[in-house]
């Protein structure tokens, strides 16, 4: 990567982009008021989607997005956001109602047709071919050819040109496997833009980003809108709506629950629209002021490299006392996942010691997992659908997974592995858990995949807590979880802490970390780079450590460790290369977030590369 390419979302190129796009516009400036006939105006008229199973996912949704506008679509999980997005991208077709582009009804049967019409989608998890370069990934599907072969040189030139025009500092020659998640997302965005998107849809784009990266992305989106693109931002973070959108539409239960110009309403009002009631903002609860206790979890100088070599832990020392929540902040992919795997017993520490209640965790693989569980470790896995549940098995079968061979799930008196399951007992036990945790489900016998993210996570947490763990490792416990369920999960985690268990909370949501944790440690490149009392730190400061701007070389998180001093923040010299966003962080944070008037829309065809 060249020096100029070290800052994604760099603001410096916006002028160049303005010129490029302004010049390409074939609409006389100011001639077209935003209205039904404006090129690139997308509207939905009473659109419904009913699946063959009878599920009404989207019910009579009408909304409209004009070029120059950032339109946020908000709602809890299961509100229909994703279904609307799928219909706009040709992945699903409406059962009733019209989608209109420039006033003409359109019916896209495949994403290819939607893309040809100017739609662009940046999914939440961008799927790229890891061994391909950025350029190869971006041109995939519409490769420039020389004879039967891919013309690599032209591909690189084209992609570099697009990247320059849209201010995305990515080197087209870099293999995607070397990029961070945030950069991979930028590749997804570049791909959509390269395909000539006039209407850009982003599905919860900030979920994998550090605050500064997220802020920079928002600034970039704002700029694209000002230059004439239409941006649809699917999110459930209210702060983002406030920050970047012109209008927003709230979906609840598949219907439009409200829609307004962003500047007219406050955060509390939006939150109330989303959940259908007023939300009281949570505040950090001070932990009971008791003297230092003996640690439940103790990790001393732990070092490990994962099988793929993508993540490492180096010299990691941390402790958690009973009745304490230690939060781990960090940009995704900096060793948090590996830390969770070590504690769950999947991976054995190569050096150093890990013990729970003084019992060292030994072994790896199946034996290690059983040893960890026997020592009292429970976990909320990060990838809930893959590691946390068996999606096609029933709620009951998922709820009993950690007790499948013992009473009350197995009949008493029948020994061993071929013991008969007490299906009645398991169902009663599950019904009790569902009631306790307020899980909304048709029946305990339906497949767990039919539950919303929040309800599913409640079942997972209920299962893990049922055995009274000594240590709970909660990875992204409320990711993809709606606001109502989020509150209830937070209360449960707090209650578990109060009952004397140790909790390791790994989260990308800094508000969650700050609200729940007693202490917070920041991880970067597999090391601890900061250690704070949660009550004395804020998101901005955590962000500086997460992105590598600041670095505390002596950071440890054992019970006696000192907290990272407030000043001076030592710019990280030893950690190279620093997270790519770092230099632009401050400017991005201070970027104005007030929406400006939409500029002249540009012609779709001219935006594409020659």
């Amino acid at each position: 990567m060249s020096a100029a390419m070290n800052t994604p979302w760099d603001t410096a190129t916006s002028a160049a982009m303005n010129i490029a796009m302004g010049a390409s516009s074939d609409t006389p400036p100011g001639s077209a008021p935003i209205g039904a006939a404006t090129p690139g105006r997308l509207s939905l008229h009473g659109v419904s989607k009913r699946y063959p199973t009878g599920t009404l996912a989207v019910d009579q949704v009408s909304l409209s997005i004009a070029p120059g506008e950032v339109h946020a679509i908000v709602g809890e999980n299961g509100a229909g956001k994703s279904t609307v997005m799928k219909m706009l991208y040709g992945l699903e077709q409406p059962s009733a109602g019209d989608i209109r582009l420039d006033g003409r009804p359109v019916r896209w049967r495949t994403p290819r047709e939607a893309i040809a019409a100017g739609m662009g989608l940046v999914p939440q998890h961008v799927t790229l071919v890891p061994s391909f370069t950025v350029a190869e990934n971006v041109v995939l599907g519409q490769e420039p050819r020389r004879g039967p072969l891919l013309d690599t040189r032209v591909a690189i030139e084209q992609v570099a040109e697009t990247a320059r025009r849209f201010g995305l500092p990515l080197d087209p020659r870099t293999p995607v496997s070397r990029l961070s998640l945030g950069e991979q997302q930028a590749v997804g965005l570049l791909k959509a833009l390269h395909q000539g998107a006039r209407i850009l849809m982003l599905d919860e784009p900030t979920a994998v980003l550090a605050p500064q990266q997220a802020a920079a992305l928002m600034t970039a989106l704002r700029r694209y809108a000002d230059d004439g693109l239409a941006v649809i931002l699917i999110t459930h973070r209210i702060a983002e709506i406030r920050e970047v959108s012109d209008r927003f539409t709230v979906l609840r239960g598949g219907r439009v629950a409200g829609s307004a110009a962003t500047r007219d309403v406050g955060e509390a009002e939006i939150a109330a629209m989303v959940v259908g009631r007023a939300v009281v903002p949570r505040r950090s609860r001070p932990s009971p002021a008791s003297e230092r206790r003996t640690p439940v979890l103790s990790m001393r100088a732990v070092a490990v490299t994962d099988a793929g070599g993508r993540q490492t832990l180096e010299d990691l020392t941390l402790e958690i006392a009973g009745g304490e929540i230690l939060g781990i902040a960090g940009v995704e992919g900096n060793g948090q996942g590996l830390l969770a795997d070590v504690l769950a017993g999947l991976v054995r520490a190569e050096r150093g010691q890990v013990s729970v209640d003084g019992v060292p965790l030994r072994g790896q693989g199946d034996a290690g997992i059983r040893a960890a569980r026997a020592a009292g470790v429970a976990a909320l896995p990060e990838d809930r659908l893959h590691d946390g549940v068996a999606p096609d098995m029933s709620i009951t079968e998922n709820a009993i997974a950690n007790r499948h061979a013992e009473p009350p799930v197995v009949r008493r008196g029948v020994p061993g592995w071929f013991g008969a399951l007490d299906l009645g007992g398991a169902a009663r036990e599950t019904a009790r858990l569902l009631r306790d945790f307020g899980v909304v489900a048709a029946s305990p016998e339906v497949p767990i995949r039919s539950l919303s993210g929040g309800n599913m996570q409640k079942v997972v947490l209920a299962r893990e807590i049922a055995l009274a763990p000594r240590l709970l490792v909660a990875s992204q416990p409320t990711r993809g979880v709606d606001i109502g369920a989020c509150e209830s999960l937070h209360e449960r985690l707090g209650a578990l802490r109060d009952s004397g268990a140790a909790v390791l909370l790994i989260s990308a949501d800094l508000d969650e970390l700050l609200a729940l944790s007693d202490r917070i440690a920041v991880m970067s490149h597999g090391r601890l780079v900061g250690h704070f009392a949660a009550a004395e730190v804020d998101a901005r400061r955590l962000g500086l450590y997460m992105t590598g701007v600041c670095h505390d070389p002596a950071a440890r998180a054992d019970l006696d460790a000192p907290f990272t001093p407030a000043e001076p923040c030592s710019p990280s010299a030893s950690v190279t290369p620093s997270a790519p966003v770092a230099p632009s962080a401050r400017s991005a944070l201070s970027a104005p977030s007030t929406p400006s008037a939409p500029s002249t829309p540009s012609a779709p065809d001219e935006e594409r590369l020659p």
Partner: protein
């Protein structure tokens, strides 16, 4: 009949069709549709090659049925034989289907049923011959046990190699088939052949070891009753025991099962061993009920038919006996068609393949149902939109 019939039946028929479409849309009850579609396409193909397609078609569909009307000569013997052959075949196929389906539920794609069946049969025959002097009460249980143990042990091998060495169970089970079949031939021709047989085969089994026929004139034995019981037992094991729970969890979500601390390795080995056990029983059925001895040239390849049965039953043990019966019936019908009409047997094989293609095209019928429902709603009929709105399961 009064002429004042209200339009209600028509409306309810419409509603009934709507319900049907929705069920099909949700993937329920698609097997009969697949069969009907395959038979229709098969009929079209028959019409291309036969001068009297209807008669040929009826031969396929009704050929294996015994005749129940009393003619001048009473029942026709040939028909009972063909009927019996279908049932005998169904028993073998059901056991082989279970042999494939159980490992499959633990996501083990083993193709080793053939080898397990050969060795299971050989072990059963060796036991029966060795205990020839004992009464049936001793010989039969001992032979059963031998078939199950040897089949199970041979089935355990690919599972063990999978968990211990990460070897693909597809490859190892196929290779073990080769080993098993050659081992079978070696043992049989070197140490177990009967010099008086006139061809290379084991001596005839003692009467105490033979499974008697339930239906005279056929080889349909007590295995006909045992197979549904075994299928039921396999289903109960899956649904109602800790081991069965682990087996399903490992198959559906291996990483989840691992993280839950389920004994993944043990479960994988259990699944392939159970498969081998059922294949061993299939071997016993072949030797003790059908043939009465084992020839050295026992045809290999039946194990792969078990794969088809497991597929038809969607790996549900309780559905396997019916799936096996259906498949065996088609095979017998094919024989009837081949013997009694001008249609070559190849056509029957094509139709069998068509049925399988339709069955595995899981999303074909839901898609068609959805398209049809959309077409009806466009014509203003009360289509799928009549359901109670149940929002909130999106995304």
């Amino acid at each position: 009949m009064t002429s004042a019939a209200p339009p209600a039946p028509r409306a309810s028929r419409r509603a009934g069709l709507t319900v049907l479409l929705r069920r099909v849309g949700a993937g329920i009850g698609t097997l009969p549709l697949s069969l009907a579609a395959a038979l229709l396409v098969g009929f079209a193909l028959t019409a291309l090659v036969s001068d009297e397609p209807l008669r040929a078609w009826l031969a396929l569909l009704t050929g294996p049925l015994p005749e129940f009307h009393l003619g001048t000569q009473g029942w026709e013997l040939r028909r009972v034989v063909l009927f019996g052959a279908a049932i005998e075949d169904a028993i073998t196929l059901a056991l082989l289907g279970l042999a494939i389906a159980l490992p499959f539920r633990a996501r083990q794609f083993t193709l080793g049923a053939d080898g397990q069946m050969f060795l299971g049969a050989l072990a059963a025959v060796a036991t029966s011959l060795a205990l020839a002097a004992w009464p049936a009460m001793v010989v039969l249980p001992a032979s059963l046990l031998a078939a199950m143990l040897v089949g199970g042990a041979w089935g355990l091998l690919p599972g063990w190699m999978r968990v211990r060495h990460g070897a693909s169970e597809i490859v190892t089970s196929l290779m073990l088939n080769l080993v098993a079949v050659q081992l079978f031939r070696l043992i049989l021709s070197e140490w177990m052949s009967d010099p008086g047989a006139g061809f290379i085969a084991t001596p005839l089994l003692p009467p105490a070891a033979s499974l008697g026929a339930l239906i005279p004139g056929t080889h349909v034995s007590a295995m006909l009753i045992a197979v549904p019981l075994l299928a039921w037992a396999a289903q109960a094991m899956l649904d109602r025991t800790s081991a069965g729970y682990a087996l399903r969890a490992v198959g559906q979500a291996p990483d989840f099962a691992r993280r839950m601390g389920l004994p993944v390795a043990r479960t994988v080995m259990l699944s392939t061993a159970l498969g081998g056990l059922f294949a061993g029983l299939a071997g016993l059925h072949v030797s003790h009920a059908l043939l009465g001895r084992l020839p050295v040239d026992l045809p290999a390849g039946l194990g792969y038919e078990g794969l088809v049965v497991a597929l038809l039953a969607r790996n549900q043990p309780r559905a396997i006996p019916m799936a096996a019966l259906l498949y065996a019936y088609l095979r017998a019908g094919g024989q009837a068609m081949e013997r009694g009409t001008d249609v070559p047997r190849e056509m029957v094989l094509v139709i069998q393949a068509l049925i399988i293609l339709f069955v595995v095209s899981e999303r074909l019928w839901p898609r068609l149902a959805e398209a049809l429902a959309r077409w009806r709603s466009r014509r203003g009929a009360p289509a799928v939109e009549t359901v109670e709105p149940s929002p909130g399961v999106a995304t």
